[in-house]
Amino acid sequence: MRLAAFAVAGMAALAGSAGAAPAHPPDVPAIQAAYADAKADNADRHLDDLAIHSADCSPIDAGRFYCQISYLRAGDDAEGHLYFTVVTMEPGPGRWILKSGLCRGDGAAH
């Protein structure tokens, strides 16, 4: 179940990364892609093995969204452990930018 979810999330991330300018609330692929971008900028602050599982976003202001997300991590000793946290997403040129959440030390590694 965990690996399957990983695969789905990974493929969705690829699809999301090729998306156009964000006009709707960010979805799972968009957040996965934004996470990959954030990780590329600062690998130390981000985990390697994180797959977004679900997202439920509400607008804040000026195109920004506050999202309840769930995610899975490879290598967990608890089978299918589903993590929940919140992220702030901001529209960037042609893609979403992860502005807060999912950093090491803020609960993503608990």
Partner: protein, 671 residues
């Protein structure tokens, strides 16, 4: 002019008369509202929200309450409005072994700018007042959500935000999952779960004290008192006549402007070193002026209430007395419970039926040994009617120490000067009170308070038992049965290569002390000692404030995921008392060092919190202790680990826990 004066005199007289009547006639003790399981399930919506406290005299502050109702079918996140409910007084969730407890917890709390730990680096977000729940004392799985079941077990590593309070800042140092608006819990009560008294409270590190001090608490009962009291027919007939009361001990500091001060000041009624009031207050103590630029509380009151009612009337309706099921739901306060008889001018004897939700078995135990099994919480005495004074038949006491989170169940009945149970005479009364208590030269002074006015009844049968027989589940068998019931949940947790079994004879040592690198100052330390008491190299971890991401201890279950019992030594190097609580289990206090390692877990008295007494002398570090700058009074406990998952152990004085005196523990499936 003359008529006006007369009217004023009459009005004043009426006012005085009304005041005097009010002072004499205490309001009856209310019973908490009950929500009981049906068909093996209790499914409730639990809204944490502000509400006025209308049971206090003089003040009507806003507290925080759990507004509980059956979960609405339409998905609503609020309970129907029912005026007049005493929400601050608390609620009881009545469950049975084998039930499924389903809770949707909604955070409708306001922001909390008063919490001191919002100033801690990375913790400014605590002003948003996130909340969660912990089912204290229940032996249930602390499981995380999974894809199959996205609800939580009894996990403290999640918090729920009220979206109206704002968004998380980007620098937030979180302690686990974050949910917006609400969180769903599904807590399976094992079929073998011992019947008894438990409770539920918030557990977000840094603001748990503020939320509990504001009123957030509910009690949980598993099964029925008759499951472990009065198994023989005659006793059972008496028990059926006894009213059963549930009492939540709560305290609230209220200052000018009707404001409930949830960042409690433990010197509210008595400056450290200051004189105590000569007589106990009736349901409250008056605030004092701490002087020299410090707060002036002289216009405030510190209320100590039973189910939200300060100094209620507890009128018994039957000569057989009553069963009192008492929970200390205060955030910080320690109570020294007594039943004062004005006629006998001494504290009356009461029979202790259970501690911390588990029936006591004191049969054939010496009183001093029974007291030791409670780590001094109960000054055990033989109950009258026992065959001799050397060993106990029932466990009786005149005072019971209740540090935060403690529960006790008592049989309270009228007694004569020889402590024998007697038919009450008209006018027999008692005062239910907490005696003042001090927790050390650097500790706190808890005021003496009269908690309730008790009147005995002469109604009912003339034949009364001297002792109620108590027979709960065999303590030695509980962990194995719980582990068997939770086998699927335990197996799902998996193994961990970092989780090493404690070598035979070795013990883990937990230090209570100061973390000088932590702005909040408090923490726990750790090392492992061998069978000779020598520290095992490489195991030492200095006193450190709570680190939610790193378990201090990892315990693998035994082969076949059977329970594993470890001996821990609790070392308080500070000059103030603490207590020790660990989630997901009951444990035994080692009363004699010669007791074989692990066997105290089968004691006749098991608990889920113990006092850890202060050190003599002054140590500010473990290094100081090693240099003999203080003398520590270790408490040894045997802990039967039967439930896999991640949970915590901590001081349950929430002021200390929020300051860092907590650590994460990981229990994993057998390697």
């Amino acid at each position: 002019m003359h008529g006006s004066t007369t009217s004023r005199v009459v009005a004043l007289f009426v006012l005085l008369l009304v005041s005097a009547t009010t002072a004499v006639r205490a309001a009856p003790l209310p019973e908490p509202q009950v929500f009981a399981s049906a068909g093996g399930v209790l499914d409730v919506l639990m809204v944490a929200r502000p509400a006025p406290i209308r049971t206090f005299p003089v003040f009507e502050p806003i507290g925080w309450v759990y507004d509980i109702c059956p979960r609405p079918r339409d998905g609503s996140l609020s309970c129907p409005v029912k005026p007049g409910r005493n929400l601050y007084g608390g609620t009881r969730l009545a469950l049975k072994p084998g039930d499924l407890l389903k809770i949707r917890l909604v955070n409708a709390l306001p922001r909390n700018p008063d919490a001191v730990h919002i100033a801690d680096p990375g913790h400014g977000y605590l002003v948003l007042n996130p909340t969660n729940i912990h089912t204290h004392g229940l032996e249930v799985s602390p499981r995380f959500p999974s894809v199959d079941n996205p609800t939580y077990g009894d996990s403290v590593f999640v918090m729920t935000l009220n979206p109206k309070n704002g968004q998380l800042p980007s620098d937030a140092e979180l302690h686990g999952d974050v949910r917006i608006g609400y969180t769903d819990y599904q807590i399976a009560i094992p079929k073998s779960h011992p019947p008894g008294l438990f409770w539920l409270h918030p557990h977000v590190h840094g603001i748990a004290m503020n939320q509990i001090a504001s009123g957030l608490a509910a009690i949980i009962t598993i099964g029925d008192i008759k499951d472990y009291v009065c198994k023989d027919a005659a006793c059972a007939a008496t028990l059926r006549r006894m009213p059963i009361r549930h009492m939540l001990l709560k305290d609230a500091q209220v200052v000018t402007g009707n404001r409930l001060k949830n960042e409690q000041d433990l010197e509210f009624c008595q400056a450290r070193g200051g004189a105590a009031p000569e007589t106990p207050g009736r349901g409250f103590c008056k605030g004092v002026d701490l002087g020299a630029g410090r707060p002036d509380y002289t216009r405030g009151r510190w209320y100590f209430s039973l189910n939200g009612a300060p100094y209620p009337a507890i009128a018994m309706s039957n000569a057989a007395g009553e069963i009192w099921r008492i929970t200390n739901t205060s955030a910080n306060a320690t109570y020294n419970l007594q039943l004062w008889s004005p006629r006998q001018k001494r504290n009356m004897l009461v029979q202790v039926l259970s501690l911390d939700g588990i029936a006591v078995d004191a049969a054939n135990t010496e009183p001093s040994a029974a007291a030791a099994m409670t780590a001094g919480r109960v000054k055990a005495e033989p109950c009258p009617g026992a065959p001799s004074g050397i060993t106990l038949k029932g466990l009786c006491a005149r005072s019971i120490l209740m540090m935060p989170s403690s529960r006790v169940e008592l049989w309270v009945v009228d007694r004569d000067a020889d402590d024998k149970v007697v038919m009450a005479k008209a006018g027999d009364r008692a005062v239910f009170r907490t005696a003042g208590i001090n927790t050390g030269p650097f500790g706190d002074t808890w005021p003496a308070i009269d908690l309730g006015a008790v009147s005995f009844s002469a109604a009912g049968s003339a034949k009364l038992p001297q002792i109620l027989d108590v027979a709960g589940p065999a303590h030695a068998e509980i962990p194995a049965h719980v582990a068997a019931d939770l086998a699927p949940a335990n197996a799902k947790i998996g193994t961990s290569p970092d989780c090493k079994r404690l070598p035979a004879g070795h013990m883990r040592r937990i230090f209570y002390g100061l973390d000088k690198t932590n702005p909040s100052f408090a923490g726990l330390g750790y090392d492992e000692v061998d069978a000779d008491g020598k520290a095992v190299p490489g195991t030492f971890r200095d006193i450190t404030a709570f680190d939610p991401s790193t378990p201090t201890v990892c315990v693998p279950l035994g082969p076949g995921n059977k329970p594993v019992t470890e001996r821990w030594i609790l070392m308080n190097i500070t000059p103030l008392d603490h207590n020790f609580h660990i989630h997901q289990m009951k444990f035994g206090v080692v009363t004699d060092p010669k007791i074989e390692n692990g066997s105290a877990a089968t004691n006749g008295i098991l608990v889920d919190n113990v006092p850890v007494p202060r050190a003599d002398g002054l140590c500010v570090s473990i290094a100081d202790w090693r240099q003999h700058k203080c003398t520590v009074h270790p408490v040894k406990v045997d802990l039967p680990f039967a439930i896999a998952g991640d949970f915590v152990y901590h001081c349950h004085i929430m002021f200390h826990e929020d300051a860092g005196m907590m650590a994460r523990i990981r229990v994993r499936a057998s390697p």
